[in-house]
Each structure stands twice: as structure tokens, then as C-alpha cells.
Symmetry: C2
Subunit: 636 residues, 2 copies
Amino acid sequence: MKITIACAQIQVEPGNPEANTKKALAYLEKARAQQADIVLFPELTIPGYLLGDLWEQNAFLRDCEAWGKELIAASKDLCIVFGNIALDPEKINEDGRIRKYNAAFVAQNGKLLHGGLPYPFISKTALPNYREFDDGRYFHSTTKLQLELPGTPSLKELLQPVAVTIRGQEVKLGIMLCEDGWTENYYYNIPQLLKQNGAQLLCNISCSPYTFHKNVKRHRIFAAQAKECGIPLVYCNSVGVQNNGKNIFTFDGCSTFYSADGQSRSDAPAFQETLLTAQFDPAARQLELNKAPEPEFSDAKEIYTALHYGASQFLKQIGLQKMTIGVSGGIDSAVTAAFYVDILGADNVLLANIPSRYNSSVTKNLAQQMAQALGTRYVIIPIQEVVDKTIEQLGQTPIHNYATGEDSKLTITPFATENIQARDRGARVIAGLAASFGGGFSCNSNKAEMTVGYATFYGDIAGVLALLGDLWKHQVYALGHYLNEEVFHKEVIPEQIFTIKPSAELSEAQTVGNGGDPLVYPYHDFLFRSFIEDWYKTSPEDLLGWYLEGTLEEHLGCAPGLVKELFPTPQAFIADLERWWKNFCGLAVAKRIQAPPILTISKRAYGYDHREAQMKPFYSRKYQEMKAKALSGANS
Amino acid sequence: MKITIACAQIQVEPGNPEANTKKALAYLEKARAQQADIVLFPELTIPGYLLGDLWEQNAFLRDCEAWGKELIAASKDLCIVFGNIALDPEKINEDGRIRKYNAAFVAQNGKLLHGGLPYPFISKTALPNYREFDDGRYFHSTTKLQLELPGTPSLKELLQPVAVTIRGQEVKLGIMLCEDGWTENYYYNIPQLLKQNGAQLLCNISCSPYTFHKNVKRHRIFAAQAKECGIPLVYCNSVGVQNNGKNIFTFDGCSTFYSADGQSRSDAPAFQETLLTAQFDPAARQLELNKAPEPEFSDAKEIYTALHYGASQFLKQIGLQKMTIGVSGGIDSAVTAAFYVDILGADNVLLANIPSRYNSSVTKNLAQQMAQALGTRYVIIPIQEVVDKTIEQLGQTPIHNYATGEDSKLTITPFATENIQARDRGARVIAGLAASFGGGFSCNSNKAEMTVGYATFYGDIAGVLALLGDLWKHQVYALGHYLNEEVFHKEVIPEQIFTIKPSAELSEAQTVGNGGDPLVYPYHDFLFRSFIEDWYKTSPEDLLGWYLEGTLEEHLGCAPGLVKELFPTPQAFIADLERWWKNFCGLAVAKRIQAPPILTISKRAYGYDHREAQMKPFYSRKYQEMKAKALSGANS
């Protein structure tokens, strides 16, 4: 006998149990209409996942429990698997608050079915505490429970499949929650334990955020799991956008049925609500797939799709429908502008070009050409008059010293003048325009700038969302090409914007014609990526070591020959390395602390995903020895 | 035979193993000079504690290990107990990175002594994952190790005291790391297990941040622990300032020897490096104390001392010696100004009064009087001209719509005008002054304003440090009185600043003479405190319930009669509650995400201590039912 399994890839709204329950009930009806026998919903279907410390609010927890009961009550004549918070008011978590489990409930005909726990639910065993994940802060795990239970039962005893009877036939579901299926770094293997305990179908319900190329890894891991266990696997993930303050995460869904041999699959499209079904034959342990696999995206399409979904949903959540964007004629603001026109419509976007005397006619014209090509709203607000007035006020107003009775005046340096321009643009003009146009304004900083704080506090590192804050400069260029070619099908971002030298245009020295940015992106993009995205957090010790052994380009993934070209001597290499490392560990941390939320794409984004303290830059003793040797060698 | 125990309450610099090792070596010599037999250093002596994801950098970890070896090598003829990171390169943490323990090392004559683990160190068992603590993100715990070890040994088997031989006599030290001594919410009791295994002296090495009144609790808990175990206890805590980005934490030390009966103690002063010693008679299990207990501080003195230490040390760490402060003539900026004059000296402080047309001569005069009384630097920068110019530029510059070919203009509302003033003050004037004066500028926001976002983005919620960001308005007033009376011994903050109605002075309606702030601090301070500081995160459901049963003032701790006076009807109460709750959960979260770091004092501060997501405000179903009933009852 074949049974129909439905995987409800629904959009979960964080912190809104009412909306999520109603959404689940609606999908339950859809599944019923398709004669589903078992319907899976994602991990934490009812509360959502990234809620911060709302997990400590008892009224919220009780409300989630109450909504969960409505879903349980709706399980007449079929079986529902869904995620919710599970409370044990008799016990406490290690923080002293009420005992909470991140749990899967299996309900049939209004009753809960048990696995191997002394509770009517399955609790998550593997609690991730890395990147953005804080599961250990909120949830008690099966392994902690294990140590509390009399006789310390083994994990295998506790991880029993749930036996469901469908039209008289028993089916054993091996239920896991998200990380339970990613235990290559844990000392236990949950799918294997479930299989050994008789599971006929592995069910992984997840609330798993999107990361660039993560879905490829998911398919590899889950297909291998199915194959190793010799039973099919169904992966049910939510879609939606959730955040933890500093980072906005998208949830891509990509729910999938994997055949028992790991060879075939049927999957749901990314970032869309869907009901995906398959027929399962428990006796033969075979799946009959109803849908062909989704096509793989190009890198540019993948990034574009995630950003598009993330930004649209996030703005909807915070109630913004309009965006003001300062456009300099450079690539970051150009891509940002085109992107918001794409998601909000040209009528809801205001582009502002805000020149001082240092802005060239080249970039001013490019900004205007782009506004024209996008068919959007455009305003030019020159700032030189107010900048001059500011310099005069700050530099000419006497400061009275009440201790000495003397007056003095401040000296306004060229560097201070650069920042005065940036703040005048951001805090005076753009913030003011946005407040009156409605909606918010955009932060156009990219990840290379975020890395070293190449931005002005309350100037350009400001806004409601750092759309490109997790993209390296070369990814920004690629996204720009994608927007022109695949989204707008015309050159909305003028070609010259891709080819001019990036420049802040804040002084005579820093112009499109002259010096440009101090960052050489084809090198620094990759150097900086190693600071943050490398698994073991690459340090100056590693970098100098690779430089000295001639493997730096290979390690960083930048173009061969570039290092020699940029740094003729070890001195030059070390000076550049320390300049940016000092910024990365120092002032840039201070700037990131006050930076806007970043839409997260990579395997490591600034913000809550990469936690940091303001400290002195760290150089290991080994680094210092290598450096001394390299410099003395160079001198001899 | 008596042995001398020394407790080295040293200042630990986060992320600087070299400086910390050298400091420990210097204190080791001091202890040697006092004939110490056993010298205790704090938890994580070498790396520091709040380091963010620097814990993932292998070069840093190896460096800490190497510096630890120097400390071990220095243990000739005495016994050292110190905290460091311990690595097991053969194993991994659950995140896949190298296995790390937060460990205590016991060294004597260059050799490490074992406890009950298969390692030459004691690992922390209780890993806190609440408030600012993220131990589970970085460290593997003894309980996780327990489950991996063959035969799953009991915790008691693993928690063996360390036997040290001092002049031929064996002494068994029961070593704990910080939270191991605070296990009232865990299912095990570590001091008891150590005692049962033969410990003669409990040693708790900690890196425990200061919280208001925490030391009173520490004394209560540790004295009780000594008494229950019937053996003395020594608590060794570090001093210093560490941060995790959004929060600055002070470490107060307060290291203490507790007698076996819990009746007497000898303790180190708060926030000072000290070497505290006592004589211990292992046979009699008696301590001979060398110093009388420290006197208890008043609440105001405690807060002043923590802020003074925290701000001084933090500014030193980030290399700032000067501060610019916008002074309005109101209490928050007045207290901030006096405070920075206290810690940096009058010559290093620049006070700026930045009036628009709405600032009264009353407050302008008060600001000036204060600058005079403080004998500091003072400047007046009027902003009306640039504010008017901004309103003109934003409202009169035509916006061209490239889709329609039409031009339009923005309307600048009075509300937008208020924010234009605030940003002009903060981002244009104060940030500009600070850049040229040198150093940073101060964020003067208090905790009530932080709670509901009663501040302007890039205006007044900006700066290097929110000194008062964890103080309620009534605490700010109290600190002001303390500064006048106990620090300056004269009225540096004019009396009238304490008595005028708080007002933002941003419009005709909002002036000192007219409306003033929409917050009624004697009520809202306490309402807001319940939002964030209450153990179970008080929600509208709880608050409305208390209001309806007449126990709200009692629950909040505000003055009796106030609620009735402010809210004659349930409608009025609910409208006020929802107004601020919506802000608290909504726009205020967005503002806190971009707020400056907060110097943390309370048991729950905004920032990393209280993690939050941007979400819709949550109202439980029960709240909605109660509200409907209360409103219909009122209508009938």
C-alpha cells in the first residue's frame, strides 16, 4: 500500500504564532485535498526561530503551546508532524527559566504519538551554537535530558522512531530536527540510530537559513544519509525571512524527497511556499516522486534571488514601501539603486545625487544617466554650501575655557573635511529626504568596506538595511551585470560605472581621475575574505607564512602574480597587511557595532553571525618572529 | 602546618595573552615575596573572556597555549592555579573546530597536576548560555565529555580534587570555574561532589562581570557553599573591562576568602588589582584571615564606581583621552558632562550647546552655568541657519520623475523638522567638533529612552559610548546628586537641572515651559524596567492582568496611586501601554541595533545582553481577550 506524504514548505513569520498556525491549517487543508496521509511542517512552525530573547517571555511560550493544540486538534484522519516549542513546567533550563525543548510533535486524530522520550514529543538533540545559532541559550537538548534521567539511558534508547498507523498499516517515522541531520561533527549519528531502531522513513523538519551554495551541500548530505541508511528521506524546510538584529536571514525552503538509494530526488523551488508530495511504499521502502528536480542556479542568479527575496520580505515586515538611495555614480550605489527599483518599482525609489566640489562631472552624469535609464525619481542636492558653513562654524566659533578664561579655535583637517561631507550626505540630506519621501534609506556599503571600516560613522554606514553588506566588490560587479542582462534586459547601470576606478571623491587626491580608493579590490577582496570567511579565521601569522612560502595567492584565491605586482618587498606586503588588519580589528569593529543590519548571503557575515569585541589587534608571537626575520632578511 | 594561599586579583586584558602572562608573572613574584604556597589566578587569565569569535582563530589559541607554558614553567617551589584555554587537537567541538575547554591548570615545579579528567587540567562543567554569556559557542563542557568517554563515567568520578603537596603535606583543592559555583539551576552540585571526593579547600577561579548588587549575592552563595561543605572557599575573580561589541562589562574582582562556617570573610576591594592572602590549616580546615571585610557601598556609590572604572578603562582601551558632549541644559547631558570631567579632567572635555530656535534661555543658561562650574571648555554652535537651509533644500529642490517627466517637491513635516534638528546637532556639529577636538563624543541616552527609541537615528543615539544607557531616569538623577555631593563637593550640576521638566525642545509644543517629554518617568521608568529586567520578561498580558486586579504598582515598584492618577480609564491605560510596547518591540529595536555600546550595570542591559530581532509586537491571545473585555466593560 502506498501512502501519500506531503511536505508543507510554508512561510513562517517569526514571533507570530497566530499567523503561523493559520497558515499551517490552510496548508493542512490543501494536503487533505490531495489525499495526504502524513503532512510535514517545518521546525518551529508555530513560533518561528530567530526571535532573540522573546524565548524568555512566558506569555509568548504559553501562547505558542495553545496554538499548537489547535494544530493537534486538526489532525483528524491524518498524521501531522510539526515543530513547536515544548515546555515542561516541572523543570527548569540551566538559566533557571522554564524548561524548553525545540520539539517535533506528531499528531493523529487529535492525539500525540510518542517517540522514545518520557514526553509526547521528539526533542532536538544536536543544538547548534555557531554562526547565528544560539540553540543552547534557549533549548534543553536530548543529551542534557539523557544525563538527568534515571540510569542515564543511551541516546539510542531515547531516539525511537514514531510508529504511525495509516489505514491499518504501521509506518515508522525517524524524526529529526534540522541539525540532527548535520551531525558530522558530533559524536553520535542520529539517522543511523533511528534506522537501527526501525525507522522506515527519515523525516528532517528544519528551519534552516539560506547560505550561498548550501543547498548543494544539503543535497549531498541528505542523499548520502538516505543511501547509508537504505531508506528514503524527506527534508521539510520553511521559507521566509527572519533576523536577529544585526543580520537578516532568508530561509530558502528547498524541501526535498530523497530516494532510498540517494540517486533521485524531488524538490521544491527555493523561496516559495509549496506543498510537495510523494508516494511512499513502507514495505518496499520506496518513494514514488511526483516532480523533477529543480534546475541549478548560476552563482549570480542564486545571489540575486536570495537578495531579492530577502530585501522584499524584510521591507514588508518592517512596513517600508519606499527607498531613498544616495547615488554617487559608483558601482555600489548603482547596483543598490537598480535593485530597489526592481523590488519596489521605479515610482517608490528616490535617487539622490549629492555632490560637493570634489565630485566629477563624469560620476554626476553617470548617476543621472542611470536614473533616466531606470525611469525613477531623481534629485540633486549640492552640499558644498552647508559643508563650507559647517567648516566655518566648527573652525571659527571660539571655544571658551572656563578654567583659564581663554578662547581658542579648532583646526579642521582635510581628513575631518572628508568625513564632514560624508555625514552631511548621509545624516543631513539622505536621512532628511527619506523621512519626507517616506520609507527608509539604503546603506550601500559592501563587505570589503565593512571589513576595514572604509566608511564614515553616521554618513555612508547608515540606513535601514545594508543590502550589499555581505557581498565582496567583485560580487557587486557581477550582480550589476546580472541586473542589466537578466533582470532589466538593458543597460540600466551604464557600462562606464563598471569600468571607472572606484573612488570616494572626498578630496582632490581622491577622485575618479586621481588616486581612487586605497583598496585594490582584486587583491583586498580576497585578503579580507580570508579574515572572516575562512574556517579557522586566518590571521597575520598564516598570511605572512603563505606569503613567505609563495602560496598566498593560491590560499586566497586571487589572481596569480598579483601579490608580487602590488608588493615588491616584504616590507610593502607587511605594511599593507598590518594597515588593514589593524582597521579590521579596531575602528571597523566600532563601526560594525553601529552598522545597519546586513542581508546575509555568505557562510560568514558581519553582525551576529560573526561576533566581535573591541580589542587591540592581535599578532601572535610567531607572527612577530616571522616578521622580524622577514624584515631583517630584506635589509641584509 | 599552615600554608599561605594567595589570590591574585589581576586585571585581564581581553585578547592580549602576552600582557596577561606578564602581569601574572609579576604577581607571581609578589606572591613569592609573601611566601605564598599556592597562588590562584582568575578564569581565562591568559586569553581573557569576552573575545567574540576570536576563539575561532587558531593562531590565537596556539599563542595562548604557548604563553600558558611560560606560566607553568614559573611554578618552581610553589603551586599555581590559573585559567587558560585548553586544546585537544585530536578532537573537535560540535561546530567542527578544534576542541576547546575553558580550563583551570594546576602547576607545581613546572609540572601539571591532574584532577579526575583524562587531561592534565580541570574543565569548566557548567557553561553559562544566558545574558552576555556564550560559553557553549566556544567551549566543550565536562558533561559533553562525560557522554563521549567509554562507559559514561559519572560526573562525580570526573570531578576529583587536585592533590597538591606543600612542604610534604598533601592538600586537596576542589577546583571550580566560575559558573561551576553557581549551579542552583543545574541538576548537579559541583561543590558537594568535590567535597565528597575529599576536597579540603574549594577554589573558584572566575572571570565574572559586575552587575548591580551581584556581590551581595556572591557573598551569600559562596558563604553558604563553604558552610554546607564545611570547608573554606576561596573565590578569585579578575578585574578589568571587556566587551562583546554592544555591551561594555566591568569586572569587579571582589575576590574573597570564606571561612568553613561561612561566618567570616576577607575580601579584596572592587575594581582594583590586589594580592589577597590567607593562611590555611588543612588539618583543621581553618582559614586565618589577613584582612577585614570591605565596607558595603551605597547604591549611588556602587553605580558611580562601576561607571567610573568602566568608562575610564574602556576609553583607555580604545585610545581616547578626550570627549565632546552636547549639553542641552537637561539632566542626562549634565550628568554625562560632569562624569567625563571627573574621569578625563576638565581640560579634555568639550561641552557644546547647540541651540535651535526652540531652546529656551533657561536651559541655555543652565548649560553655560554648568560649564563654568566644571571649569571646562565650552562652545555654542547655533544650528537654526543650517536647519533652515536643510528644510529649504529638501523641500524646495525639484524631484524629477524620469518615468513621467514631471517635477515634484517634498513636504517637510514638523516631525521631520524635529529629527532634522537632532541629526544636525549630532552628526553635523558634535561629530564634527569631536573629530577636530580629538577623541570621541558621548551618547547621552538613558535606558528609558533606549527602551522606546525616544531618540533620533544618527542624532542623539550616536557616539562612542552610551554611558547612561543602562540607567533609568531616576538613577540618572541620583547619580547627578552623587556627583555634586560626593565627587565635586559643590553644585557643578545646577539645582534647577534637577527640577525642570525634561523636554527635548524640538518644537513649540515640546519645550521646558510647555509639554515636555511624553514620558512620565516616575511611572514609565518602572513600566519599562519590567519589559527588560523582569525574570520572565513581563508582557502586556501580565501588565494588563495586574492593572485589572489592582496590583500593578506593587509589581512594578512605582509609587502607589500613580496609575490611577495617570490613567483614569482602562482605555487610557491600554493606549499608553500599547503605544510604548509597540515602540519597544518595533522602531526602538532598529535604533538599538545601530546604537553605541552600552556600559552595563543592571541585571539586563540592551545590546548583546538582551538579544532581539526586528519583529511585529507580540500580543498573546489571552491579552487580546482581556483587553476586549476591559474595554467593553468600560463602555457598558
